[in-house]
Amino acid sequence: MDQFKKLAPLIVAFVMGVFFALQYYIPHPFTDDMLTGMSKWFIVIGGIAMGLGIVSLFYSHYYKIKRRTPAWGFSFVMFIALFTMLGVGIYCANAEVITETGKQTIYGWLYQSFMVPLQSTMFSILAFYVASAAFRAFRAKTKEATLLLIAAIIVMFARVPMGEFVYAQIPTFQVGGVTMPPSIGDITGWIMKTINMAAQGGIALGIYLGIIAMSLKIIFGIEKSYMGSTK
């Protein structure tokens, strides 16, 4: 039985892996149906699994309230928000608008007035963080860091009208029929299309090989840490 416990998942992973790798080459409706069927299966598995997450979340906040850990009141806020959303959503049958009239339901209003500003504010905090990260990290301590910061400065400068305007004040001259210096848009375009593309291409190819190796190790049972076993 112990042997079976260990082997069963490995067999499942192998069969699933080999089948869906081969599926790519087989246009037959049978395998095609399997592929679309599988996406439906995962919707079911994912839905049922969400219960685990909810249990975990409820437990940790219930625990905070029960033990009166510092600032446990915020866990109350969490529960109130959760049940309000849930209750209103069920009341409106999960419809943000009434289909016939296009009128917003109270559920839609809740989403628009609470979720949307919260979401876009969290997202916009990135503007501050981009600045503080740039200030702290872009120091010409090493050759690599210098390249990083120069490239960033050039691109930032070129992206905005003020940069374009300042750059346009530089007098241009002709060298063999070519205007020098090239426009700042062309310079950043070249960096993005050449250097950036090459570096991203190299990194991506490495990633793809890493993914292939990882997949093979899983299919052949060499990598099984996802089962908790590191042996």
């Binding site: 975990s56 979340l57 940790s60 997202f123 990290a137 840490s225």
Partner: protein, 411 residues
């Protein structure tokens, strides 16, 4: 007045005579040759292909008309018209390959049978269907003698994907070969990856400071390879954490990933001989919403002030939201991601960043298992192979050969 009328009559007569003459001139119609029907190759079984040799009368204004019928006796219904200047086999390399002669064969794919020419909802072809072909110049119609038939069928191998199969084989053989080699000769050299060497130090530091370690798995689910790689690294990290008697917190974005992480960490503690020290509550679910997750993780970082933050897996815009908050608390930060768009932000906010493939190499590196290291060697040879292809391919295509460009075409 009289003259004018005569002139008009004369002119009309001339025109009447001239039109057929002009038309005749335009269309020396030759009947199409080599008309055949067959099941479309490389498909799921919902279409029939018709091909015929391009006729000598091909020119602007000449059409081929395709008729279909459920039996040899009809009724024949016009299905489609193929302009003689368009619709060649060479337009469908996914079915017929890249052979030069495809340019002189017409091709028409029938996926549905119309009840009449204006039918907008043709019935899908499922059974044997009969076809006739004629060529027309708008005035004359010449029919191809003979009726052809075919039935659609699902195919068991897509030959247009042969090139992919070959490369899957090459990479698989390389990687599996070096894995099997490592079984025999387990002493493999692996270069240093500073970010991974730092993990040990980081955990030690966390123990000294009496603060936890925060570990994130990224935002993708368990079927994604970066998440699998991340949980695998978590196993190795958790084992060290157990050895050092430190604490690890894993806030999760996906409930299944959470379950896997609980399992992985639990096993790691057991293997380290500290099953009693494992706290399942430290691996918990937060939410499945990107920015709510980021807000909550930021809260955890600001309040628990972890000694170290490890971000492994795939991230989106929240990467900087979380990592920059971590900087403020003075935590040691190590990131590993294959999200290329987020790498610049991790590089600027973390002490160490595992870039792309290094994320996938990390678990092999940390475990030092020969089989895992063997796969790294196989990956290296694959990279060498790709470099060769890039150099030779560029030279060849510059020299005018389309071989390599065609080799990497996908359909």
């Amino acid at each position: 007045m009289h003259k004018a009328r005569t002139l008009i009559i004369l002119l009309s007569a001339l025109l009447l005579v001239a039109i057929p003459v002009v038309a005749q001139d335009k269309a020396q119609l030759t009947p199409p040759e080599g008309f055949t029907a067959f099941d479309t190759p490389n498909d799921i079984g919902n279409s029939i292909s018709l091909v015929w040799r391009a006729s000598a009368s091909n020119q602007e204004g000449v059409n081929y008309i395709v008729y279909a019928a459920p039996s040899e006796t009809g009724p024949w219904i016009e299905q489609t018209r193929v302009l003689s200047t368009l619709g060649y086999k060479s337009d469908a390399p996914q079915y017929f390959g890249l052979a030069k002669e495809n340019e002189s064969w017409h091709f028409c794919e029938i996926t549905g049978i119309k009840k009449d020419i204006n039918d907008e909802n043709p019935l899908p072809v499922t059974a044997t269907t009969y076809f006739k072909l004629s060529v027309s110049n708008g005035i004359d119609i010449i029919e191809f003698p003979g009726i052809v038939s075919a039935a659609p069928a699902g195919n068991w191998f897509d030959t247009s994907k042969l090139n992919v199969l070959i490369f899957v084989s090459i990479f698989s053989i390389l990687i599996l070969y070096f894995i099997s080699l490592a079984r025999k000769n387990p002493n493999l050299f692996i270069r240093h990856i500073p970010g991974l060497d730092a993990i040990e130090e980081t955990i030690g530091r966390a123990t000294e400071m009496g603060r936890p370690i925060l570990y994130l798995n990224g935002l993708l689910d368990m079927s994604s390879l970066s998440t699998i790689a991340s949980t695998s690294i978590l196993g190795k990290v958790a084992r060290k954490v157990a050895n050092y008697d430190s604490q690890i917190m894993v806030p999760c974005y996906d409930p299944i990933v959470m379950s896997v992480c609980q399992e992985v960490v639990k096993e790691s503690y057991a293997e380290a001989g500290r099953p009693d020290a494992f706290k399942e509550d430290n691996i918990f679910f937060i939410t499945n919403d990107q920015f709510a997750y980021a807000a909550a993780v930021d809260g955890i970082i600001m309040r628990h002030k972890p000694a170290a933050n490890l971000f492994m897996g795939y991230y989106y815009a929240e990467s900087l939201l979380i990592a920059e908050t971590g900087v403020a608390t003075g935590a040691m930060q190590i990131a590993g991601t294959d999200a290329i768009t987020q790498l610049p932000f991790f590089i600027t906010t973390c002490d160490y960043t595992l870039m792309g493939e290094e994320l996938y190499a990390a678990s092999a590196y940390l475990s030092r298992e020969p089989l895992q290291l063997g796969s790294l060697k196989g990956q290296d040879y694959s990279k060498g192979f790709i470099i060769l292809v890039l150099i030779i391919g560029t030279i060849a295509s510059t020299a005018g050969s389309a071989f390599f460009i065609n080799l990497f075409r996908t359909f």
